[in-house]
Amino acid sequence: MTDIDAVWERTCKVFPILKKTLSETSVGNEDIEHVIRELSALGLCESVYESAFIEFDFILRQQIVPRFWKHFESVPDPDTGFYNFQLAVHELYSDFSRAQEVLRRLTLFRQVCRLKNQEKVAKSEEATFDELFRSVLLSQLAANFNDIVYAFYKVSFRIFANSYDNNDQDEFAEDMIELNCNGCGKETERCRCQELVCAFNTTNKHLYKMHLLDKLAGYTLTNLIQERITAHVEETCKGVFDASHIKNLQKWLDTIVINWLTRIFNRGSSKISEGDGYTHNVIENFRIKLSYFLYETYAKLIIDQFFNIIIDFPDSQLAIDDLKVCLEKIDLRKHLIKTLKQSLEARLLHPGVNTMDILTGYVAAIKAIRHLDPSGVLLETTTEPIKEYLRKRSDTVRCVITGLTEEGPTDLAEELAKSETLKENVDVKGKDEMLNWEVWNPDPIDASPVPRPKRTSRSADIISMVVDIYGSKELFVNEYRNLLADRLLVQLDFNPEKEIRNLELLKLRFGDSLLHSCEVMLKDISDSKRINSHIQSDLNYSNGKAFPISSLILSSQFWPAFNKETLELPDEIQDEFKKYTTSYEAYKGNRTLVWRPVTGRVVLEIELAGRTLEMTVNPTQAAIIHYFQERNEWALEELSGLLKIPPSILRKRISFWQTQGLIKERDTDIYTLIDEMEQSQVDPSQSQEICEEDESESAMASASDQREEELQVFWSYIVGMLTNLDSMPIERIHQMLKMFASHGSGVEFTQEELKNFLQRKVREYKLIYNGGVYHLPK
């Protein structure tokens, strides 16, 4: 037995691991071989070899790994964190190196005694140990480990980036002697960057040799770099739209980030040796992944600021060009569309923004977005809400016209001036497109799948896009005509030269035929002036008149339809108009006048006790007060019968005089002239609102009235459909009518407009609406 004990003693001397220690003993190879022969004679080779690995496992679990992780128990400040990590790795590495000697001896052991399972042992001792080493290490991972690794690499990155910057800007360095080093944060004189870089390189080298770099640092490194990239992109690119950043960003990535990573993975050197394919691959993978990340980050930054880019356009072209480059690499279309829609909505589409500003924003958006995506698909998708919103604002056409005809922020006038040259280019361009049919690309899938009726060409110019708010230039011109009619007849505040100039500009753009009516309208106004002065000079007329009449004489076929408001003037006033008509007939032979009493403007002088009021009112108001001159008190019914105004509207008209303090409602629907003594007590300042509301009324049939007229064309179709199909929901009716419309009249309408029309038919008892469907009354 003593023999065996002695052999064991000798064995332990060669393999101290069997006594649970890595402490080295200096033993020659002959000693090792001697021990092996002894063990072999005793048949113990195999069990000793295996015990050695069992002890490795034990030492790793109980000593080495816990000691390593103990360094990370306390929460460190970044400074000590750096040293902690360095120290921990250093210790771990010294254990790891000592284990290498043991492994070497074990390898020898296996080879000399030709262990039976030698064939089976495919892995080397080193590989077996490595695996064990890593799995034990990771099984005891400290909770805050990633923070410490993060702190370690962050310090190093800062030093590295800083040294790079310093090299880059030598010329400024002298002017900018800073108190603290940008790298390590210590006072410049005590800068420890050099020392830290050394420690950093050593630590990485150790990790690399232990095959731990990727396992321990890979994840954190990626996070850290991504964070650095985000910060760098923000710092250098945010709010700077007039420069292209891509080249610099790519250069920054390639030099600073990739160089730094190379040093980490290449044991401190930035030059990877020719044969080192592994490191090459690691770095190349990083480069690809990080490039994507860089482009994505930059693209998102641009997208987030896209509203500002729109406003800055064309100064922001370079930022858009950058975004284009990014989008070629990364598909962010969905994100782009969503973000863009949201920001346009948030910045433009609410009641606080005036229409001109929305329009200006819309024009800028058209320019900027089309620069980004000339196909027009993106534009169509993102600006639809703006168009819809503008369509609902009542002053949009006015703003468009103003924009088209006056210098202003919308640039529309400038665009209009361009439009002549544009027309000439259209043919040439069309030809080009035909020649290029081979490289034609289908629309991206986010192009709206349902083709809308009368889609304007996607590459249409800006004015077409603005006009497209109304769906077609016909509808736009129609709106313009209504607006012009109102200005000419109701507001009377137009400047004829300016209107004519506007019209000429619009004709250049939309063609003479569409705007012909407007031309006649303007001519009517100037003709009226001439006719007027002729009639005034007609002595037969001017000698007999009670008050001066002037008239706007319109060519009915060329004006938009008037609304159906009625008014019958008192006889003595009507007589005056008859005199005027007689003079007109004499002048124009075979022609006569049909008056529209409700429209116009009357200047009155109202004499009250002690004071005289001069006011400008509309004819209805004039007629009302005229009747109160005859009699102090009127019942609503009675007055309504005389004036031929429905009571509900008349009540509204009388309220004008109530706010003027001349009339009061003594009893329900009984109106009395206020006693002249009382009159002075009424505060006329209240009157403002109602007057203004009154002013804004239009003489023309509203768009919805006109729509209903147009839809009347379809009434017989609707009756036919309902006769055959009994009952139908509105969607169905709308669909079928659209089919008819596309072949027939060319009238377009929304479901909403159709609904208004059908509801009117319901009110007229021509339709019944029940349970969501329409049917005909039996």
Binding site: P548, S555, Q557, W559, R591, E605, E607, A699
Partner: protein
């Protein structure tokens, strides 16, 4: 109270005094102009025939020119004679 009208700006549409609404040749309203014209009224006047039918002057002249042999009113086929009123 005394109300005095100082001035009244009214609005009217002009109309031909004719016993029909549309020109029997071009089918356009008389208050519109004939297809050859762009401005109504003075620039595209109406004329009456002895038969009391009336047309855009440009329309009837064109019509008569296209009928070299017989100068008839296109409505009633009576011989056309301008009625100078």
């Amino acid at each position: 109270m005394k109300v005095k009208i100082k001035s009244w700006m009214g609005v009217a549409t002009w109309r031909w005094i004719a016993n029909d609404e549309n020109c029997g040749i071009c089918r356009m309203s008389f208050e519109n102009c004939c297809p050859e014209c762009s401005l109504p009224g003075d620039d595209c006047p109406l004329v009456w025939g002895a038969c009391s039918h009336c047309f855009h002057m440009h329309c009837i002249v064109k019509w008569l020119n296209s009928q070299p042999n017989s100068q008839q009113c296109p409505m009633c086929r009576q011989n056309w004679k301008f009625n100078i009123q």
